[in-house]
Amino acid sequence: MITFSQTTIKEIEEIRRKYPTSRAALLPALYVAQREFGWLSPEAYTAVSDLLGVPEAIARGVGTFYAMYRNKPLGRHVVQLCTNVSCMILGAERLVDFLKNKYGLEPGGTTADGRFSLVIMECIGACGTAPAMLVNDDFYENLTEKYIDEILEKYR
């Protein structure tokens, strides 16, 4: 059984107060749970639904609908690389191959050491500075192979 830390419980209660109903607070609360546990495991859903007093089925329905919730365990760091039009024109697909060959990182997959997971994104709004990616919540643009090496070095 997993449980929230006291700070997180406070944070979720704080979130709850901003909304008229418990269900309305579900999206941000799930996001906090994902941050705390790394992904939304069945236990994480239980914890959130208990804390907010929302039926578990409703919490799961919401959490599996939106793309930014992770419903399977991912690596310690999540690389989200855009391959949409602008990024593709500027070589994002080569970068996908690069990640695969150098780091063993397949789209949708996780490295053997659990360090990185790769998620292919559809446009993160950085067309002017493509190709672009997110590592966790950090934003990187004008990517090259060398630059990616430097970036990933920061995430152990």
Binding site: E56, A57, R60, G61, F65
Partner: protein
């Protein structure tokens, strides 16, 4: 008046409605999938698209409201084309396994495709494969067949209020999950099963055993489980109930059922049913003929009467048997045997509480329409969880909340936790004080209405102020004043009273306070009711102080009426009630007992005492459908026909009389017929050709049931007080004595009342057994921690009377000072451990003062 034209037909409408409803009212069919009359409108499937003149594109008729002068066409080539296209999309992932699918024949998708096409598909991609899911005990899911109409989730969330299932994932991966089976998630009502238009969610009980078109008969009858009395339709093939379905529009449940009603019917054809009469010879039961058995019963009862007098014989009637059975039974006891020693387990709470309430407000005070609860603006719940005791009544409270009504509860009610109740949670022993405080505050806020002087004199004595009580109950003054303000401001309130109040310490006084609250806010009272015919058994006079028609025996004029009708002389004195009977049997004063359709050993407190008492009897005859704990002690056991095999009537908690109909054939006799046969052997002839003629007699002799007929009952014209005369003017002093002092501190034993069982019948239902297979001990996690008990550990719970070993289940909803065990499973019933005192006012056992100890005896199985 709104006039619209659909397919050239002019339709005049009194009130606003959707185009779909207007069309249906005029007999015009528009195909639908996601629309269901019980559910919120969704507009998702697009099959109900119609052409509306002056509107630019096709419109969904299920969501479009009619306007005056609207011109609609529902079947044109263009519409058919669109519908065909939608169906083609729906079939992309559909397995087309109709030959194998149980739904075929009543599948809405199949019917639509048959009508509109397409005959072939243009999609060549692989279909989504999802294996059939059999993890659930009673429901089988096949998500390949799902068309994502979301009827099931809208039912589960918006009507049932369980919110146990939801659409999981997105787009082509969407599916319905999970039937989690936690205590207050999936309630196994199966209402998702009834609304699923395809074969995606179905009952496992009849899986692959019949086709819808093989159903020979659809028999409308009344559910045998709780006091709500839902209408259900039994679908029968080859003399077996294959399936139970609800009926939309039925007055009590309107298309809804609970787990017991829908899945609990298998006891009818159970292989352990008694089939032949049994006579105990030298301690062993031997099969006997009816002639032998009935002859013996008549002889022994006659001997007991002649040797020891009528007062040495007693009878226990049954809240599971029909009115007809109970009427004939009490007539037999009174006329043939000459005793008023007749009672039932209604004495466990319902009878005393109802008599108390009716003494204050008049007869019929508890006979309020269940569906009216959802129209109340305020519902106050005291004494238990209505959603488990009377599930369909619970749905009405949830509906009330959804419609903006205020739900107020004294104590925590888990089944209403998602319905924003205002809860006041005093300590277990402070409830009385809290109710006193509410009464006092309501008087000061609203004043006394002046219509019931007797009651008001008693109310004036009550005095408890908020500040003091809040301190003693550990509550905030603010939450108490908010609560009281809501009550005081209620316009159409209802007060729901449960067993936890009726069977509690000081229950008589608490019930007085609840009545006082109801009086001060002008509320309607709903008294929760465990058994299908608990009201009927009282109305039929199966009580030591009542004659049929709920007439007090102590009034000579009522006795005279029945003496004339039955051509007999009735004993003037009230008989023994069920607890007195056991005591009298134990002391040797009672010599013979006739038990019909009841299991006193299991269903009365303190089984050891009951067993010892019954063993002392010279003669015990038990008439039942199963070999119960009580039947084992009998000298003669008579097998009766069950609910599903006979005709008759039940009276529900609203006092609505409803028909019970024979669904399957079986050799044997109805309870009333057996009793009449015994009476005949004792030279008191009772001439009844069928249950109808018993009922006819009831309507002739009972002033309450006067002139009723089976036909009227079938039409539903049977709301209390029918055409009869309710009792007026018979009142006694309103008692407000408190009875015993309630023990404080320590751990007490309590009754777990699970949603999935009711005991006697449900434990013989394999499906309900799969949902909830065995007894457990529910314990608050904090209490468990102090006892070093972990979830799943085997614990021994002991009282002064005995002990049980059970797995512990940690339940955060349980009170810290109580451990809960159900009274359902043989050998593991909680009542047996409860040597309870009786409340001096209500006469019902006080079941919340039994000290218990809990110790861990084994580790949880991993």
């Amino acid at each position: 008046m709104i006039t619209i034209t659909i397919n050239g037909k002019e339709i005049k409408l009194e009130k606003a409605m959707t185009v779909l409803e207007a069309a249906r009212s005029a007999g015009i069919k528009i195909p639908t999938l996601c629309y269901h009359e019980q559910l919120e409108k969704y507009g998702g499937c697009r099959l109900c698209l119609v052409e509306v003149e002056k509107m630019p594109r096709l419109q969904t008729s299920c969501t479009l409201m009619v306007t005056d002068g609207m011109v609609v066409r529902t079947e044109t080539e263009a519409i058919a084309d669109v519908r065909r296209g939608i169906l083609e999309f729906l079939l992309i992932n559909h397995p087309l396994d109709c030959p194998y699918c149980d739904k075929a024949g009543e599948c809405e998708l199949q019917d639509l495709v048959e009508k509109y096409g397409p005959t072939t598909s243009r999609f060549r991609e692989k279909k989504r494969k999802v294996t059939e899911n059999l993890q659930d005990p009673v429901i089988v899911r096949n998500m390949e067949r799902c068309v994502m109409c979301t009827r099931c989730t809208r039912m589960c969330e918006g009507v049932q209020g369980a919110s146990a299932i939801a659409v999981i994932s997105r787009g082509g991966h969407s599916h319905i999950e999970p039937f989690s089976g936690n205590r207050y998630d999936c309630e196994y009502c199966g209402n998702c099963v009834s609304v699923c238009p395809v074969g995606a969610i179905m009952s496992r009980l009849h899986r692959h055993s019949y086709r819808p078109w093989q159903v020979k008969e659809n028999i409308e009858t009344t559910c045998p489980y709780c006091g709500v009395g839902c209408t259900l339709v039994a679908q029968v093939r080859d003399d077996v109930i294959k399936r139970v379905v609800p009926k939309i529009g039925s007055p009590v449940n309107n298309g809804m059922l609970c787990s017991r009603g829908r899945f609990g019917y298998e006891f009818v054809g159970h292989k352990e049913r008694l089939t032949v009469p049994l006579i105990k010879k030298a301690g062993v039961f031997e099969e006997a003929t009816w002639e032998e058995a009935i002859g013996l019963v008549a002889k022994r009862l006659g001997e007991a009467r002649d040797k020891h007098g009528s007062g040495a014989i007693a009878g226990i009637a049954s809240p599971r048997c029909t009115n007809e059975d109970n009427y004939v039974f009490q007539k037999f006891m009174r006329v043939t045997l000459g005793t008023n020693n007749i009672d039932s387990t209604a004495r466990m709470g319902y009878a005393g509480a109802q008599a108390f309430i009716e003494n204050i407000f008049g007869q019929g005070a508890t006979g309020n329409i269940i569906s009216g609860l959802s129209n109340s603006d305020t519902v106050l719940v005291i004494g238990g969880d209505p959603t488990t005791v009377n599930p369909i009544l619970g749905l009405q409270i949830r509906a009330c909340s959804r419609r903006g009504g205020t739900i107020l509860t004294v104590g925590h009610v888990p089944g209403l936790q998602h319905f924003t109740p205002m809860e006041l949670k005093p300590g277990r022993r402070q409830e009385t004080l809290l109710l006193e405080c509410v009464v006092t505050a309501l008087v000061s806020r609203k004043g006394l209405p002046g219509s019931n002087q007797r009651l008001e004199e008693k109310i004036k004595v009550v005095n408890a102020d908020i500040a003091t009580v809040a301190g003693q109950c550990g509550l905030h003054e603010k939450e108490m004043t908010d609560f009281i303000d809501s009550l005081a401001g209620a316009g159409t309130p209802a007060v729901v009273i449960g067993k936890e109040l009726v069977q509690a310490c000081n229950s008589g006084y608490r019930l007085f306070l609840a009545c006082a609250i109801s009086y001060l806010i002008n509320g309607r009272i709903y008294l929760l009711c465990d058994h299908a015919n608990e009201q009927g058994v009282l109305d039929m006079g199966c009580a030591p102080d009542l004659l049929p028609g709920y007439r007090p025996l102590s009034y000579a004029e009522f006795r005279k009426r029945y003496e004339t009708a039955w051509k007999t002389t009735l004993p003037e004195k009230n008989g023994l009630n069920i607890f007195d009977m056991i005591a009298a049997a134990g002391s040797g004063a009672l010599k013979a007992m006739y038990v019909m359709g009841e299991n006193p050993v299991f269903n009365l407190p303190d089984s050891k005492t009951t067993v010892a008492a019954l063993q002392k009897l010279e003669f015990l005859v038990v008439q039942d459908i199963f070999m119960t704990e009580t039947a084992r002690l009998a000298d003669v056991v008579l097998p009766a026909l069950s609910w599903g095999e006979k005709y008759g009537t039940f009276t529900n908690m609203e006092r609505r009389i409803q028909r019970v109909r024979k669904t399957v054939g079986r050799e044997g006799m109805e309870d009333w017929r057996i009793v009449a046969e015994i009476s005949k052997h004792m030279s008191v002839r009772m001439h009844y050709a069928d249950s109808g003629s018993v009922f006819e007699e009831i309507t002739k002799v009972s002033p309450l049931h006067r002139d009723l007929t089976y036909d009227e009952i079938a039409e539903g014209a049977t709301i209390y007080p029918y055409k009869g005369e309710p009792l007026r003017g018979a009142t006694e002093e309103i008692r407000t004595d408190r009875g015993m002092t309630c023990p404080e501190g320590g751990l007490f034993l309590g009754i777990d009342r699970p949603l999935f069982h009711s005991g006697t019948l449900s434990r013989m239902s394999p499906a309900l057994g799969k949902i909830c297979p065995d007894a457990v001990l529910r314990i608050n996690p904090e209490t468990a921690a102090t006892l070093l008990v972990a979830d799943g550990d085997i614990v021994r719970v002991s009282t002064a009377t005995g002990s049980l070993e059970l797995p512990a289940v940690l339940d955060k909803h349980a009170d810290r000072s109580v451990v809960l065990v159900s009274n359902i499973f043989e050998g593991r019933g909680v009542l047996g451990l409860m040597a309870a005192a009786l409340d001096p006012v209500l006469g019902s056992p006080v079941l919340d003062t039994i000290p218990a100890t809990v110790e861990r005896v084994g580790k949880a199985k991993v």
